[in-house]
């Protein structure tokens, strides 16, 4: 069994509002998967159901092939950080981690010092949680996830509140954990460029359903270069494109701009075609989408157009 997480027809309703529609999702061992969606798309609800904080309305969740009560045992080998990590505000980092060490049955007390070292809080271990900055709280949350030497990390907005250096450190840490210890990671963030540097699989969630599930290669392919041309007569230009290249994928945008998604290698030829047929090209640009632009295109409903 290589699936760390599997959901079957998972749904969640809050009163009459179906926040998660029947959702099938599988996370394989060793993957780094980014869950992407705008606010209210259902990411945190999905994470909370995986963590057991929210009870699904219907459907099933399997963790490491286990469901029902056995799933609770599987969760002991997982590290969850959902939204803001919750700790006792008056306890120091050491006391907070000690509380969870006892609770999780981690025998070695030294593990606390190890994880604090890993997340860079070793020098702040005696500071009370309420005196921590947002970034330090996030780091402590990650330390807690690592306390039980997990096989899988589920991280909702782990780099929230971190500075640029902190973000890079956490990214490198997660990559290292994945490469050296084969820790499976499911992560979400609003900083999409960061996810692009980290993940190898991208799942786009929109209105509670998976809108797209792409490997890095597939995403690169989908967000590959495109041509943007500003022309004086977009209607005629569109007709010319359709007649000359029957499989052409393009979209007419505002301000007489045509966005061309395939045949990008034929830029010069298309330019000549327009000019020869009396369509003036005022602007010609070759550009590639990053994850953020691709995501925006997807949520606005035109990424595949």
């Amino acid at each position: 069994m290589n699936s760390v997480i599997q959901t079957y027809r998972l749904t969640k309703m809050f009163k009459q509002d179906e926040v998660i529609k029947p959702l099938d999702f599988t996370l394989e061992k060793g993957e780094i998967c980014a869950l992407i969606g705008k606010n209210g798309a259902g990411k945190s609800t999905f994470f909370k159901m995986l963590a057991g904080q929210l009870i699904p309305t219907s459907g099933d969740i399997q963790l490491c092939g286990k469901s029902g009560k056995e799933k609770e045992q599987a969760k002991k080998r997982m590290g969850f950080m959902i939204e803001t990590p919750a700790f006792f505000p008056d306890f120091t980092a050491l006391q907070n981690l000690e509380y969870f060490r006892i609770q999780r049955g981690v025998a070695e007390k030294e593990r606390i010092y190890e994880v604090l070292q890993i997340v860079g809080l070793a020098n702040q271990k005696k500071k009370r949680f309420k005196d921590y900055s947002m970034g330090m709280k996030q780091r402590l949350g990650i330390a807690l996830c690592l306390l039980g030497s997990p096989d899988c990390l589920i991280l909702d907005e782990p780099i929230n509140g971190l500075d640029a250096e902190g973000i890079m450190e956490i990214r490198n840490l997660l990559l290292k954990l994945n490469q050296e210890k084969q820790i499976t990671i499911l992560v979400s963030s609003h900083i999409l460029t960061e996810l692009q540097l980290l993940a190898r699989r991208f799942v786009f969630i929109k209105n509670g359903v998976i809108a797209e599930d792409l490997s890095r290669e597939a995403l690169d392919e989908k967000s590959r270069k495109q041509i943007r041309m500003k022309v004086d007569n977009p209607t005629k230009a569109a007709q010319l494109l359709e007649r000359t290249y029957p499989d052409v994928q393009f979209k007419v945008l505002q301000d007489h701009v045509i966005s061309l998604r395939n045949h990008v290698e034929k830029g010069a030829e298309i330019n000549r075609l327009f000019i020869d047929n009396g369509v003036s090209v005022m602007e010609f640009r070759m550009e590639a989408l990053n994850l953020e632009e691709y995501f925006l295109g997807l949520v606005e409903g035109n990424a595949n157009d």
């Binding site: 963590a51 057991g52 904080q53 009870i55 609770e72 919750a86 006892i102």
Partner: protein
Amino acid sequence: MINYIKSENYRLLRKKGLYITSLASLVLITAAAYVLHFLGENEANFPYATSIFFYSNVIAGSLLIIIVAFVFNQALTGRDTSIIKQSVSFGVSRNTIFWSKLLLTLGYFLFLCAIGLVLMIVLGENLLFSEGESIGNFLLASLNMLPLILAAFSMIHMLKMLEVGDLYTLILLLFVFMFSGDFLRLLFRPVAGLQEVYKYAPSSLLNENLMDFMDYKASLDYRYWIVGIVILLVSLTIGARRFAKQNID
């Protein structure tokens, strides 16, 4: 479950609320005894410097004890319920959380009650005028109160775990332990077979216990235990079942 109880114990022993509430309760008991003793020594014909009057404050003050239970529960678990979501994420079952928190907070509360009781007897018998029967009378009346206090504690725990607001909890406690007798008497007055039901209401039982105590007639009564256990079982069954299905957000 053992690991969870151990971790909660680690937490409770580091909570200021545990020590502040305990200390405040014991200081109040001691202060009350010394005030009665002082007035008895200095005021001519002061009638209340007796152990029976001193003890009657406990037997009559069941609502105060319930409020101490509420404050105790609040101090130990009130602000920390957000941590539960973390524990659930790490595979601790909701049942384990519900019962472990109850066992620990109740354990500490009963320990405080036992110390308070011993302190009262020591102060009452040494500082105040005491008649021979007063200790036995006091202990019997306290034993009658115990199941109802346990019932109140389980209600508080249930409502706290189900995230019911503090104001609603206090209103419910007031109703059950102060007005339930009057309410049932009014409700069942027209129903011939049910006119005596109000005698089993917690507030009626607590009043009766006080009257018996003041008349030196306190005796162990099964009704307190039946009513207390019924409330306790209903509270905990509803609490555990609903908490097992509750979203923790």
